[in-house]
Structures are given as C-alpha cells and as structure tokens.
Symmetry: C2
Subunit: 203 residues, 2 copies
C-alpha cells in the first residue's frame, strides 16, 4: 500500500474486528505518553492500562512510534514506514526525499490534520515535549546517524524549523504561492536547504 | 533607541498624554484590518473610526505597518525600523542580518509574544491573510526588490517557512538545543539557508 493509500484509508476510517482493542490502546497511550513522555512510556505499561496483550501494539501500530504517532499526534501515516523510505537512498538526496515524502503525505490528507497537530502542540507543553523526543529520537537521530552526521540534536531541531515552517505556511496559514505550487517546486526550492541541515557545514 | 530598548519599553508599558488616542487607534485598527485586510484598510478609515486625526497614526505608530504590527500582530517592535535595518547592508549578508534581527527582538521579549502571534494566526483565517499581505507586501517584497531578486512572492513565502519555523521551535515548543543556543549559533546555522531563499537558485 502506498503512503497516499494509507492516508486515504485513515480518512475514510475503518471498522473491523479488534477495533475495540485498537481504541483502548489509543486511549491508554494518550494518558501514558502525556504522563511519562515519549521516552518514559513503555509498550508494556500502555498495554496493561488498556487491558490487552502487548503484542497488540505491534499488530495494530507497528510499535511504539506508530502508536505515539496515531494516538497523540494523530498522524495520517505510519512513522516507521516513513522512516524506512527516508533511509532508502543516498545521503546526498535525503533533503529532497524528506521534503517529497512530507509534502506527499500531508497533501493527501488535505493538510487539515497538520493544522490540528500544530494547535495541539502549541497549546499543550506536554504534547510538545513528547513530540520533540519522538521526532528527535525515533525519526531524525536515526536518519542523521545513518548518514554519519555530527551534532545530531542541533541538526534534528534545525530540520524541525524547516519542516514545521513549511507545514504551517502551506497547510495552516496557506500563504500563496507556496500553498498551491506543485510538489516538485516545493522539493526543488526547499530540499537543498534541508540537505544543509542534514549533512552541510553549520558554520 | 536600540530594538531591545524598544522591546523593553513596550513590556513595561507606558502611560502618557495621548494614551487614549493610541488605544482608540488600536481598537479601530483591529476592526478595520480584520474587515478589509491589510491592503484594503486605509489609515484615513481607521482614524475616522477612532475619531482622531489621521496624523496621529504617524505620530504614534510611524505609519500603517507599525499600526498593523502593534494592533493586530502585537509585535514587540516597530516593523518600519526593522525594515530599515534589514536594508542597511550588502545583499549577500542579508540572510544572517535578518536572522540576527529576528532572534534579537524575540529573545528580548522572552518569546511569549511570538507564541501569542502563532496562536492568533493559526486560529483566525482573517488574521493569517492580513499577516501574509503585511509580511509579503510591507516587508519582504521591499527587501527582495532592493536586492534585485526574481520570484518575489515565492521567495517571500519560502522565507516565511524558515522564520515561522525558527520562531516555533525556539520560542513556542522550545526544542533543545535550538531553544537555548546563543544568537551567533542560530545566525551561522540558519542565516545561509535564508540567504538561499533570498538570492539563491531555487532549482
């Protein structure tokens, strides 16, 4: 299934056997992640609170990152799947690859979920903290380490400035022309800037 | 008076003769800018609604940009003053100069006003539209035109992605280490990226 198909499936919603297990895990995850933070929360504690087997987390969410992404951030895609795609190619194209993935998934969700994410993050300090440890530890440190970069944490937060800013300008405040230009234009304009944050000289 | 002194004066608040005129102009400006947008609002219409002479806008706010910045965006500085500083130097250093000015003024305000700005912009579509025409038409088009850049509107919105993202990561969600590193580190890390959006090849 492509990322866009995944997004569309999420938007339609799904009802299936086990849906109660999934809902219970999401409710438990929201409580535990907010209370303990991303790093402090364990899959075992979340499953125990939901009253289900810990294996159900892998079954429904592919692991802790996926559960966090869906329960707390309500991401319209699976972060582990995205991470796999980001690592699948040479380091020198990673900036463009990350921007293309980001724009593809958020364009497919109509951008509305990005706006909800920003409202949640900017009004709840605990969500912001959990997002940071998720974003830095589960996603960007892996990308940067795979590419042999130094100053991992500074680079990860610099990448965050560009991607959060792109999301807000394209999807939330919708400044033209950037809100409407095609994905290729965004990738060519912003990809090289992200690349500098990933592997370039920071001065 | 330096920008930081201006910011500190605003934070302490001031009470002086004519303060009623200033308050009336701010209240009228909020209504007119939101109703007509930044470009459609006139100084004459705002002064008429406030029941004061139009010359008072220049006296208290230095013009339409300053009134918009203080009434609607509640900026802790005078945009005309900032614009003057941005244009005061060679084009090839503009990226670093803009980032240094941005970080200096928001650091001095404690970042709290940036968080309020973001909440206002992300929850009110009219404020977002007014901010865009203000940001693009009153600030960035002037900078870009002075530097002889092409694709003014696309470049202005690309600059917006970087600056909004920096503000959110440093002041709102406060991701470390970027929230705490000194201004020089921010300028060296981000200045060259902004420079590419101002005068570089966009691909």
């Amino acid at each position: 299934m492509t990322l866009v198909e995944q997004v569309n499936q999420k938007r339609r919603g799904r009802r299936a056997a086990g849906e109660d297990t999934r809902s219970a895990l999401i409710a438990a995850a929201r409580e535990v992640f907010v209370e303990k933070g991303y790093d402090g929360a364990t899959v075992r504690a979340i499953a125990a609170k939901a009253g289900v087997d810990a294996a159900m987390v892998n079954h429904w969410f592919g692991g802790k990152e996926g559960l966090f992404g869906q329960a707390v951030l309500q991401l319209p895609f699976d972060p582990a799947e995205v991470l796999k795609r980001l690592l699948d190619g040479p380091a020198e194209d990673a900036g463009e690859r990350i921007i293309r993935t980001f724009v593809t998934v958020w364009d497919a969700s109509g951008g509305g979920t990005f706006a909800a994410l920003i409202r949640s993050v900017t009004s709840h300090q605990e969500v912001a903290k959990a997002l940071k440890s998720f974003f830095v530890n589960a996603i960007f440190k892996n990308v940067l380490a795979a590419f042999g970069a130094d100053q991992l944490e500074l680079r990860a937060t610099l990448c965050a400035t560009q991607m959060v800013g792109l999301g807000i300008v394209r999807y939330v405040v919708q400044f033209e022309p950037l809100a409407s230009v095609d994905a290729d234009t965004v990738v060519k304009a912003i990809g090289p800037n992200l690349q500098r944050y990933l592997t370039g000289d920071l001065g």
